[in-house]
């Protein structure tokens, strides 16, 4: 594409119809030929003498941009630049006049991502596309999620994240359901998601759909505040090879290799391997946090597509060495706590298969089964879990206006915990079954009003029957304006730990005046309870979407979430030991004493001022109130950041060079914490930037900087045991090759 910057000038000597055909032939192998021809036929670019000038196709856009941003007060006529943005007029009609050979000879220009049409989903949905992931320079799924308005994403240390939607964040934030290709990665042991082990080759992710608000009806339990659905590409779309290598100060080294293609008439497959080594952060108190980590993984996906059936088989296997600094309570004085550097071994694998069958144009069903094995060995918890899950769903178009979906599911979770001083779980092994069913109707009341109503019905051994209904309305005023509203209920079921653990939160040293006058240490224990009931949410949401033109779109969602039976603790009676060499035990039993509400709104906008320049903006506001505002509720629930702002700019500087900038602001946060007070975290502003250069068609080189504004800020702290760390500035280079 060396010719792109060339200005083509010339003179049409005989502007007559028959010579047009000849010229078409002559120029058909020149990339600019069709544009010239187009301009000529249109006669727009020709003056009265028959002279024409073709602007360079991909000029350097940096000057235009700098001028528009930095020198607005200086009068400048950027005539040549603005014209250069693209050939003017309806080139399209001329393309229509070309024959097949010429069309097949044309180069396809994949213009930067266009404004998408408005979603007609009656929920606060946001989709991260593969392009968003590539342009953002992120190296992990959690970092990609920072693009979603209304999601709270915070890094605790080098290998831990706290992620939630619409409040109640924490390492073990328990109200967000996460699925990867239909497989739940929500941990039923301590609730929440171990984000550090959730990964795949990022280049193989097709999209990440995020729904804020309850999604329990379709997606299942624990989709209380949101659902994240990570969807990888069909293996027909990943033919060929891909190699990625990179290195940096924090992203110390990374490598990935994928190969795919057809393995039969209707069958495609791919395999991949990937490795990452990431460096440690610093402790807030100073010194190395010793939280460096490495992950190795590999996987495969096979897809078979027949006329009426499709089959998918996929699996992953991973192993990781994760380091962490832990401060754990202990019975040994004088401090009654000890700090360790812990080496965590994580490993696991899964296998998933899915069969979709189309009975007729109005009826199709899907059967999915997976088995997932996961092992995690850290000082205070050594856990093995095996999950088997079977899901069936059937979709029928009952009438032209009535789409009916129903399904049933079964899940068995078998776990085993090694004995632990800090977090013993008893019984150490268990097998829990759950049964689910759901039905949902989508009814078109009129051409532009659709009603969705349905319910999930779930039976869990511990908690019995749960019904989670929802009602949603979508009103499409036009293609440009859409309104939606919903009311729904969702529940968060107790984790294994909330049921069966006796969790040592701290040890109070003996002979502390006023706190513990006794000569024995006191073990403060949070004890799980069989009586703990599911937490319960009723959510009210409204949304508005606007697409005033080709270059701008706006999406607003507001919510009021009413929570009941939120988790609290109630002090039990002291257990005084029979002898003087044993500690006193002060148990706190968990119960459902709290209720509260969150309210807020999220605004996201996309603006594409030029073909080569796109801006993605989001702002979210949230406020949390707990009905009974006491000491415990404050430390237990914290407060999410009231304001979050994200602005991403993607600029195509040149046909082969992109510049991406991403600024974020997060206002101050109160993290939930097992200490005497909630942990206050200061507001922060940060900037990521990257330049991507494609020197050849199959080669891409990216230079990425993350957290560029400072070398130390704290984003979050874990609920317990993990000393506070600060996020470092990260710089890395990545080379990607396709073959």
């Amino acid at each position: 594409m060396a010719d792109n910057s060339r200005v083509i000038q010339g003179r049409i000597l005989t502007p007559k119809a028959e010579s047009a055909t000849k010229l078409q032939w002559v120029l058909s192998h020149n990339p600019e030929a069709n544009d010239i021809l187009a301009s000529w036929i249109r006669k727009r670019a020709i003056d009265h003498r028959g002279l024409f000038t073709m602007p360079p196709k991909h000029p350097n856009r940096l000057p235009t941009l700098l001028v528009s941003l930095i020198l607005p007060m200086v009068f400048l006529c950027p005539g040549h630049q603005s014209r250069a943005s693209e050939p003017v007029g309806d080139t399209y009609r001329e393309i229509l006049n070309l024959g097949l050979e010429d069309l097949l000879d044309m180069e396809v220009t994949s213009v930067s991502k266009k404004i998408q049409p408005l979603s007609s989903s009656p929920a606060a949905i946001h989709v991260i596309s593969e392009r968003d992931i590539r342009q953002s320079g992120v190296t992990t799924i959690p970092e990609a999620l920072r693009m979603v308005p209304g999601l709270q994403v915070a890094r605790i240390d080098s290998n831990k994240w706290a992620i939630t939607s619409r409040g109640f964040n924490g390492r073990f934030s328990n109200k967000l359901l996460v699925l990867i290709d239909g497989r739940s990665v929500y941990s039923p042991s301590f609730s929440g998601v171990y984000w550090e082990i959730q990964d795949t080759l990022l280049e193989d992710i097709e999209r990440i759909e995020v729904i804020r608000g309850p999604g329990a009806t379709l997606w299942g339990t624990n989709a209380v505040n949101g659902v994240i659905n990570i969807v990888t590409k069909h293996s027909a779309d990943t033919a060929g090879g891909l190699a990625v290598v990179g290195a940096g100060n924090q992203e110390q080294h990374m490598g990935g290799l994928r190969y795919g293609g057809a393995i039969g008439d209707n069958t495609y497959a791919r395999v991949y391997v990937k490795e990452n080594q990431r460096g440690a952060f610093d402790l807030l108190a100073g010194g190395d946090a010793n939280d460096d980590w490495s992950m190795h993984r590999g996987g495969l996906r096979v897809d078979s597509q027949l006329a009426r059936d499709s089959f998918t088989l996929q699996g992953d296997i991973y192993r990781g060495n994760i380091n962490q600094t832990l401060t754990l309570p202990s019975l040994t004085g004088p401090f009654f706590q000890e700090t360790f550097i812990d080496h965590v071994d994580v490993s696991g694998w899964h296998l998933l298969t899915r069969w979709k069958h189309t009975v007729s144009a109005t009826s199709e069903f899907e059967l999915q089964a997976y088995y997932d094995y996961t092992h995690r060995d850290e000082i205070f918890a050594d856990e093995t879990r095996k999950t088997f899950d079977l899901d069936f769903q059937h979709r029928i178009l009952l009438t032209d206006n009535h789409d009916f979906l129903w399904g049933v599911g079964f899940r068995n979770v078998r776990d085993h915990y090694a004995p632990s001083f800090v977090a013993p779980i008893f019984p150490t092994a268990n097998s829990i079954d759950s049964y689910t069913g759901f039905l949902q109707s989508e009814i078109a009341l009129r051409d532009n009003i659709a009603l969705t109503l349905g319910s999930k019905i779930e039976y869990l051994e511990h908690t019995g029957l749960e019904i989670q209904p929802n009602l949603r309305v979508m009103w499409s005023l036009s293609d440009q304006h859409k309104l939606w509203a919903s009311v729904s209920r969702a529940v968060r079921t107790p984790s294994r730990a909330e049921h069966d653990a006796r969790f040592l939160a701290s040890v109070i040293p003996p002979l502390l005046p006023e706190i513990n006058p006794l000569p024995l240490p006191v073990m403060v224990i949070f004890a799980g309870s069989e009586n703990f009931k599911p937490e319960d949410l009723t959510a009210f949401e409204v949304g508005y979407r606007l697409l005033p033109g080709k270059h701008f779109s706006l999406d607003i969602a507001a919510f009021y979430n009413d929570y009941n039976q939120l988790r609290g603790v109630r002090a039990g009676e002291n257990e005084i030991p029979g002898s003087l060499d044993q500690p006193i035990i002060q148990p706190y039993y968990i119960d459902n004493q709290y209720s509260g509400a969150t309210r807020g709104y999220e605004v996201s906008a996309v603006w594409q001022p030029q073909e080569w320049w796109r801006l993605d903006f989001s702002y979210s506001y949230i406020d949390l109130t707990i009905d009974r505002d006491d000491h415990f509720s404050e430390t237990q629930f914290g407060h999410p950041p009231r304001h979050q702002v994200s602005l991403r700019s993607t600029i195509k500087l040149d046909a082969n060079i992109d510049l991406n900038l991403w600024g974020r602001y997060v206002s101050n946060t109160k993290a939930s914490y097992t200490g005497p007070l909630p942990y206050e975290i200061d507001a922060y502003t940060t900037l990521d930037a990257n330049v991507v250069w494609r020197p050849a068609r199959n080669l891409e080189i990216a230079l990425v900087g993350q957290n560029l504004l400072d070398n130390r800020h704290t984003e979050f702290v874990a609920e317990a045991f993990i000393p506070e760390t600060e996020i470092k500035r990260s710089l890395y280079i990545k080379i990607q090759m396709t073959f």
Binding site: G79, D90, D479
Partner: protein, 187 residues
Amino acid sequence: MPIHCHLRVSERELFRKTPLWLLYLPFALNVFFPGVVAAQTADEYQIKAALSYNIARYTSWPSENQVVRFCIVGNSAVLNAFKTFEQKQIESRHLIILHVTKITDTSSCQVLFISKGNRDLLPRINAAIGTNPVLTISEMPGFNESGGMVNLLTKDDKITLYINQSAVVKSKLKISSKLLRLAELVE
């Protein structure tokens, strides 16, 4: 007259008579509202729409209607690319461009374009069409193998046509040999 910043000739004059900010308005308009000034260039879907139109010109249906119904499964960006040639004709038959909202309606189309990202809909589309004479065109790997007729795949920035002749014949359509010569045949 498009608001262009071609002020070179009268630049000086304008400068004298007009407040400064007004001079700078065309530029601002140009940067921030490109739609006002310049239309978009030919992109992937403009070419694919043109190709689809040409492919339809080289196709004959068992019974020819007064109109050719061109149905689109895809988002509005795809639809708009096709809409531009609604004025065109194929052998004096008018084109009607339709956005598919119900899959059950696809059996009455003469041409059906299914954009990528709708892979999940293929089995239901296949079921809806059956052996009705609908020329199916798409742009995803594996489309021909699962019963699709014409596949437009991009390789090295150029589009290659792949045609599944047996699927075409099964639906009693005929594709001219001129078109077949330009395509790669897939069984």
